[in-house]
């Protein structure tokens, strides 16, 4: 990898780390279940972008695209299921506050 490509790769990675921090902070700080999902989605986007950038830098872009397609499918299923779980929690507790989930029984 020449110097220019390496510098470009590092620039991309700085922004990917920033995106990752935003998602992680959102998950850690929020008390709303929907916002936890949004944070998770931002984390996944950072990983997606990292895969594409690494694939581009190493010349394995076709493999990276195949992995990203798999990742996107997993992401959709996870979001669909967790959205269902969030709705079930809302039906039970009448709120989306995570503090109401501390009294788990069983």
């Amino acid at each position: 990898m020449n110097n220019g490509t390496w510098q470009s790769f590092l620039n991309f990675n700085i922004f990917i780390v920033m995106l990752f921090i935003i998602g992680l902070y959102c998950i850690l700080v929020t008390r709303n279940l929907m916002r936890v999902l949004i944070g998770l989605e931002i984390l996944t986007k950072a990983v997606t972008l990292l895969l594409i950038v690494v694939g581009y830098a190493t010349g394995h872009i076709a493999l990276a695209q195949a992995l990203v397609i798999t990742l996107i499918i997993i992401e959709v299923i996870v979001i669909a299921i967790t959205a269902g779980v969030v709705l079930s929690v809302f039906r039970h507790t009448d709120s989306l506050d995570t503090r109401n989930l501390r009294d788990l029984k069983g």
């Binding site: 470009s8 922004f15 997606t48």
Partner: protein, 161 residues
């Protein structure tokens, strides 16, 4: 230069998604972030992944989010005021942390001494997906089926007794 501008806009969109008070606006911000990532993917010679990102992440996931938000009850005026005060206190660190981490990472001038694999002969993504990553496809089918059954189980109507 253009890439840097797009990446800065992406981080601003993600920050807006997290910092905005309204959940609906947060969902729209997420869609915007996805759309910007799509542009980056197109610029990095990944058109198929970009199309998937645009149609699935920007479209389908936003639709799922908006549906879920509309099925849940919005906060009352008093609750909104209380939550807003708390939010400001908890979230003001985020832009500072993000900007500081960006400055620190760009100033650190990281030099990792590892050898990258040799540049591969450019294969067609369809060839890779259908011939080299068949196990992935099998996994995708299993995950989709698991998701469908999961949603059916979660939203199953109770039998009238």
């Amino acid at each position: 230069m253009i890439n840097s501008v797009i990446l800065i806009v992406m981080v601003i969109a993600a920050l807006w998604t997290v910092l905005t008070r309204s959940l609906l606006k947060a969902a729209i911000g997420l869609a915007l972030t996805s759309a910007i990532i799509t542009i980056i993917m197109f610029r990095l010679n990944s058109p198929l992944a970009a199309v998937f990102e645009l149609s699935v992440c920007t479209g389908l996931i936003t639709a799922v989010f908006v549906s879920t938000i509309s099925l849940t009850k919005p906060l009352t005026h008093r609750e909104t005021i209380a939550v807003s005060k708390n939010r400001l206190r908890r979230y003001w660190y985020l832009p500072v942390i993000v900007v500081l981490s960006g400055i620190l990472l760009s100033a650190s001038n990281i030099q990792m001494d590892f050898t990258l694999p040799p540049k591969a002969a450019e294969l067609d993504v369809r060839n890779v997906l259908w011939h080299m990553r068949q196990l992935d496809l099998f996994g995708q089918i299993v995950i989709i089926l698991a998701g469908v059954f999961g949603v059916v189980t979660l939203f199953r109507e109770k039998k009238n007794r």
